[in-house]
Symmetry: C2
Subunit: 452 residues, 2 copies
Amino acid sequence: LYDVFSGFCRAEQILQDEANLLAYSYDNSRISFKPQIVLLPETEEEIVKTVLACKNSKIPLTVRGRGTATTGAALPTEGGVVLSTERFNKVIDFCPASKYIVVEPGITNQHLQDICKEQNLFWGPNPSSMGFSSVGGNLACNSAGSRSLKYGAARDKTLAVRFVTGEGKIITSGKAVSKQAVGFDFARLIIGSEGMLGIILNATLKLDFLPEQTTTIRVIYKDTRSAGDAIISIMQQTLIPTSLEFLDRHSVALIRDDVDLPPGDEILMLIIEVDGDAAAIKHAIDQVNKAARNSGLLEFMVADSKPAKQKIWQARKALSPKLRKIAPKKINEDVVVPIDKLATLLVGLDRLRAKYAINIVNFGHAGNGNIHVNLLVDPDDEKRVARAAKCLDEIFKLVLKLGGSISGEHGIGLVKRDFLPLELGDNNLELMRKVKSQFDPDNILNPGKLLA
Amino acid sequence: LYDVFSGFCRAEQILQDEANLLAYSYDNSRISFKPQIVLLPETEEEIVKTVLACKNSKIPLTVRGRGTATTGAALPTEGGVVLSTERFNKVIDFCPASKYIVVEPGITNQHLQDICKEQNLFWGPNPSSMGFSSVGGNLACNSAGSRSLKYGAARDKTLAVRFVTGEGKIITSGKAVSKQAVGFDFARLIIGSEGMLGIILNATLKLDFLPEQTTTIRVIYKDTRSAGDAIISIMQQTLIPTSLEFLDRHSVALIRDDVDLPPGDEILMLIIEVDGDAAAIKHAIDQVNKAARNSGLLEFMVADSKPAKQKIWQARKALSPKLRKIAPKKINEDVVVPIDKLATLLVGLDRLRAKYAINIVNFGHAGNGNIHVNLLVDPDDEKRVARAAKCLDEIFKLVLKLGGSISGEHGIGLVKRDFLPLELGDNNLELMRKVKSQFDPDNILNPGKLLA
């Protein structure tokens, strides 16, 4: 394949050695598919020429940010080219006065935030991978994060997208303005399409001003139902918290030794962050306090210092390493339900936990109804793995029955592809295929994902 | 055509008399195209059967809300059926706990707001037609309004859309959750597509809690540049005003006799609304005050009572009747530019005003950079009408040069259709046509709009 691309890429932009092919073969799903070749384009022109070359020779072309997805979305299941955006990462325009920035997709989320911070601005989406993940990957997967409760997911915080189709045609959809009514909204269609409709050349991102301060609150409940009621009450106000995270009773049990906690086997924890200036924060704490109080409340603690704040978050952060230690190949889902159904979902998960005798631990973004459901299964225990698959099937069905969705922020990729028909139905999938055929008639862009 | 629909619609749901055909032939663009027949379906089943009947007999099918668009978007340019949603207007589900409501498209915006208000909630979009316009029309055109600065346009405030394609296939895109990463975002593609891709069967709308209070502030500047600087400064903070409206010097001149104003031929007016509880409002006024002050400021007035508030808005409201009196067929555009380009646009509009000797009056949603540009032209003065057309062409080119868009909230329809290629380019239009061909292969849905 080298000759197909050497006409417009320098030799050092083309990787073919085994070590590199392996390095670009996997993501955080730990599934691996080796590409035939890896390209590191630096310009729009090189990307368009790559698309045309792949189209003419019918070579699969999979775009890759930093490979942090948990779903296998950027893996070259059918071989061919992996196009890594790591060198296509310039800032094209930054306009603090109109609160937007135009960037190429290879820039990392953290680098973007660092640039914005110099002007007291930030971009809303903060996936836990933000230190390393690329903005292009965040857009392709409609990534979110804890503060998206107040500051939106990728789709909410993008004004325009410039992309190239599978036919090599360049299209810009959207403008650097906060409202528009011109033509079809291809920008938001590209966002979340997991690289199947086009390659993002640059994106105009909508920025917000950094809040003056943030404060963290820890609230403990004696049982699931009272925590569920409190979540609804807290969200039932004009105040929108920056974050409203939760740890279920099984999560709390895991970190009990590391964190100061009141006694009780059934206790749940909420971690709430509010932001604003000093006066606004004081008022927000009062509002949260009033809404959080019910007969199941055991503790309401406001972090009065930076160490106290860190101590609260440490509980949440201690959880993931703990889980990885117990079950290095845990199944981590990210289902989402309307928040009034959250307590019902948690009760249902407890039922499935007992039915399948699988350790299920739940935590996540309660303010969005978005729960990371972790099935702790030893991959070498075949019986248990088979049970987990059945259990997962029931979890997804329960989520859909409650009006929810099988992914709040991780996306579909390979790992949830088979569950997509369950959520979307035949008509939707058929229309997705038809639309895909117009953006990419030769099916070269990330083939084999989403649509089986 | 009666027999095509009488199998599944009652006689009184089918209108064919001249008076009714005329009543359903025009919108607020004052252009008129008579349909052959008007249908008033009441159920999803009747709508799907109508689509299938039109598809089988190749009859054009134009969906109409309440006909308040200014662009001719819902006019049956090719005759056939007008499907009015006026009787398809039920509330399907209302969940205050999760802050969403599911409604059929025929419900009026005002009726929706009245229902939401009972639970202290509201839907963001507030087009000036809201007393009468339908939610379906608001969605089809991605309508906004003055408070969309803080509370979003239709596309920002919709969680899911259920629609039927031109082939009669029913598809639901989205869920009643605030974040999701599953499949292509057809919901946002349908919103703003002006009835060309599908007929909305119902929509799940994202609601906000009503603020405790709102306060109105009037600020006067001595010239365009200082007002432009103030708009940027006001938006350059964490505070997001509910509205940030402006009247240019020509607008102010028109209402001078009706409103108390400081002297000066060049003065401009900003009207700013902030909301929250008493403490938040006090703080917001301080923030606006600090940001609004520059050497061009002539007056900063906070409405301290309901009458004072009404008096400020009265200035804005007096303007439209005044304009209609001077020029009953004024050309009303709604261009939008990044807010740092607003002052440059206004200066450019003054230049074109002089060049073409046309009275141009500008006001609108300054916080979004969205300006209603009014060309006051007597339609019987042929020379002036021709000059106005050339002037409009230059206005759109100026807007695009400044990185803006030819419509912020009114949409394209018939009246701006010929300017669409200027903004979107050939590749985008070609892709729009291709996507349209997949949603509606027989081109029965609102033919002749957007794409010539």
